[in-house]
Amino acid sequence: MHRECFGRTNRAGAGVALAMLWVASSAAAEEANLLTDPKVMMDTMWTLVAAMLVFFMNLGFALVESGLCRAKNAVNILAKNFIVFGVSSLAFLAVGWGLMFGNGTAFFGTEGLFFLSGPDNSPATGEAYQGAYQAISWATVPLLAKFFFQLVFAGTAATIVSGAVAERIKFLSFVAFSFVMVALLYPVTGHWIWGGGWLANYGMWDFAGSTVVHSVGGWAALAGVLLLGPRLGKYGRDGRVHPIPGHNMTSATIGVFVLWLGWFGFNPGSTMALDPKAISHIAVTTNTAAAAASMSALVTAIVLLGKPDLSMILNGCLAGLVAITAPCAWVSVGSSLIIGVIAGILVVVSVLAFDRWGIDDPVGALSVHLVCGVFGTLAVGLFADASAAPVTGPANGLFYGGGFSQLSAQFVGVIAVGAYTLGVSLAAWAVIRAVMGLRVPDYEEIEGLDLAEHGISAYPDFQLTNVGAGLLTGGGGPRGGSAQPAWAAKPATAQGT
């Protein structure tokens, strides 16, 4: 605002801030004082900067997902990944936030449900807090900083779905599901774990969201993939897997670097407080797991296939990041290394397994977010070590003398969240299929969704090649449900090209 009024505010503000510091520890400090409290100031900045980094992960997802799909669908995927954050922003504002953090039952929030309308005197905390969002009253930042930080997390969960259902889903059907996801699915399980709900009380812990964000995104994606069926040409008539290479490994690599960066907001930022020891610790565990997982995925790929497969290195890195997300604050750097190594192996094996099972996930979203999200959540119950942790948290894990108690709490969380999310997602996808259809017609899929749905090509000046580019004859494949008849069955529609 660059103007004298602000000068006034600031000059006054600075004076107040400094003069008041030594009396500000009174529990009755008014909001005005809190807002010039260095801790509130610093926590707010940290929270917002972290939120910006997490926001930026939308770019990462957009690039990983479009890069690992074909050029003829690039606009569609970019459009989906772009608009999904718009949808999430509005849905979370409208109702998601209230469901997740509003005071209420053990299952969802009921106070201050819509449009942040509940009373709230943040950044007051503890006894001093009065308002509708008690569960997140521990964070010493203004309400809108909390909201913004939680919003970008919700957006992440929604964007995960996009990659798994890519190259065959209708654009508007995806938009509809995203709204449901952020308005009704994500906030409910979120409430259970982060909103003071029953899983939190049960003793399940998830620092930055291996379950709350990643596996929820993964379960919702799995439901979509099951109803959609595989892409045309992914499985030959004999059921053999035909890999469909992505169109742009540069995009995919940019995407993963951006996600890695974003994760430095995602994990260390989940303190929502500038706790020097905690955020330094989490930055290092996060980075170590990512590095270790990249390396172990590389080695696994070389062992299994003899080639240093870039797509697997990239997925490996993401796998490590997802896996360390739940335990990042409660495990030692050494444990983070081990967690990373396991995640990197897990993701390679699991990509192969999903492919074999006929579950066609173009970008590996299920292997990364679902499988490693589950693994990371369980890892809390295995590796948690209070002596290494910079913040208090779960009981020690199995490997640190804690026995099975924490592990079983984690396990309950995994199962409960999985059952709810998979079930409701299946229902939501099914309703959307009934109302507006889920999958584009076969000839649109062959021609590419960009031309068919958007009337545009991503790269109109470039000669795209049709020779050996996955326009395969074999349709259907092993899972062939009603949604994907072999194209040959309806030649009347095959006029596209």
């Binding site: 031309l451 090649t465 049709n466 395969l472 004859t473 090209t497």
Partner: protein, 112 residues
């Protein structure tokens, strides 16, 4: 010898290739082309304005065959590439004076 040139729909390439290979055709050369014909182009939209793209992607297959096999080969391509929908493409048969296999220097039918 004859050179058969076929303009086909891109997604038919694999089928045609396999059909030809089954019939003993050992080689072919393929390229990307754009076709203009009775099949009208599609409408695209860019920044809220529509425009027509006249040229559609097609695949051109070139196969050298001996005179006696030319007709059968053309027929095979025709049958395999056919969907019955507009834009299926064309097959041309051209006379060829000489063929050389570069690796061996073989000429004529041996070189195919």
């Amino acid at each position: 010898m004859k050179k058969i040139e076929a303009i086909i729909k891109p997604f038919k390439l694999d089928e045609v290739k396999e059909a030809l290979a089954r019939e003993g055709v050992q080689g072919m050369t393929v390229s990307e082309v754009k076709g203009f014909g009775r099949q009208k182009g599609h409408t695209e939209v860019y920044r809220s304005a529509e425009y027509v793209v006249d040229f559609l992607p097609k695949i051109k297959i070139e196969v050298l065959v001996s005179d006696d096999k030319a007709a059968a080969c053309a027929r095979l391509i025709e049958n395999t590439a056919k969907t019955g929908r507009i834009g299926d493409g064309k097959i041309f048969v051209l006379p060829v004076d000489e063929v050389v296999r570069i690796r061996t220097g073989e000429r004529g039918a041996d070189a195919i």
